[in-house]
């Protein structure tokens, strides 16, 4: 599984999301992702991560060994820049 595939699964689940995925080891199973979306507004971190895990579905259980997540609302993202 490559980073592009992870990106596209997340985008399918969260259509308005800005998604950046990096394969941290080059092995196709360890990734880190930055996801910016309005769906995170008013949600705690647990719920935000669950939303991303749901988008990945079975891939998360079977093909992804590790996924480090940063989930931000557009406002939080702007404030970080």
């Amino acid at each position: 599984m490559d980073a592009k595939e992870v990106e596209s699964l997340i985008r399918q689940g969260i259509p308005d999301a800005h998604v950046e995925v990096r394969d941290t080891t080059g092995g196709g199973d360890h990734f880190e992702a930055l996801i910016v979306s309005t769906v995170f507004e008013g949600k705690g971190l647990v719920e935000r991560h669950q939303t991303v895990y749901k988008a990945l579905g079975d891939a998360m259980r079977v093909r992804v060994h590790a996924l480090s997540l940063k989930t931000l609302t557009p406002t939080q993202y702007e404030n970080r820049r």
């Binding site: 971190l45 647990v46 991560h49 669950q50 895990y53 998360m60 259980r61 590790a66 996924l67 480090s68 997540l69 940063k70």
Partner: protein, 110 residues
């Protein structure tokens, strides 16, 4: 109710702060579990750990228990708080310190 659920519930009842992890506190078997334990040790609060690698049934059940597909998982006062990324983020913002001190403080008063 499966026995694995009972083992999960017993662990989070017995420890104000409970970590389900890969490996043991002294010998974590995964970088994310190691990082989580390191943060809690930094805070200097007592916490319990359960090695999911030693209990395959619990390892599967814990993923359903909080609808969370990855290990480690940290519970404070019986409530799921997050995995490694969330623990790190809460630690950096200072929220984790407040959360665990409140939990441990309550224990001391009882």
């Amino acid at each position: 109710m499966s026995e694995a659920i009972e083992r999960i519930q017993s662990a989070i009842r017995s420890n104000k702060i409970q970590v389900f992890m890969k490996g043991t506190r002294s010998f974590p078997q995964c970088g994310f579990s190691a990082a989580t334990v390191q943060i809690l040790e930094e805070l200097g609060v007592p916490f319990g750990t359960t090695d999911v690698l030693a209990d395959p049934e619990l390892r599967e059940e814990i993923k359903r228990y909080s609808d969370w597909p990855t290990i480690p998982q940290v519970y404070v006062d019986g409530k799921f708080v997050g995995g490694c990324d969330i623990i790190r983020e809460l630690y950096e913002s200072g929220e984790l310190q407040t959360l665990v001190k409140n939990a441990v403080g309550q224990g001391a008063q009882q």
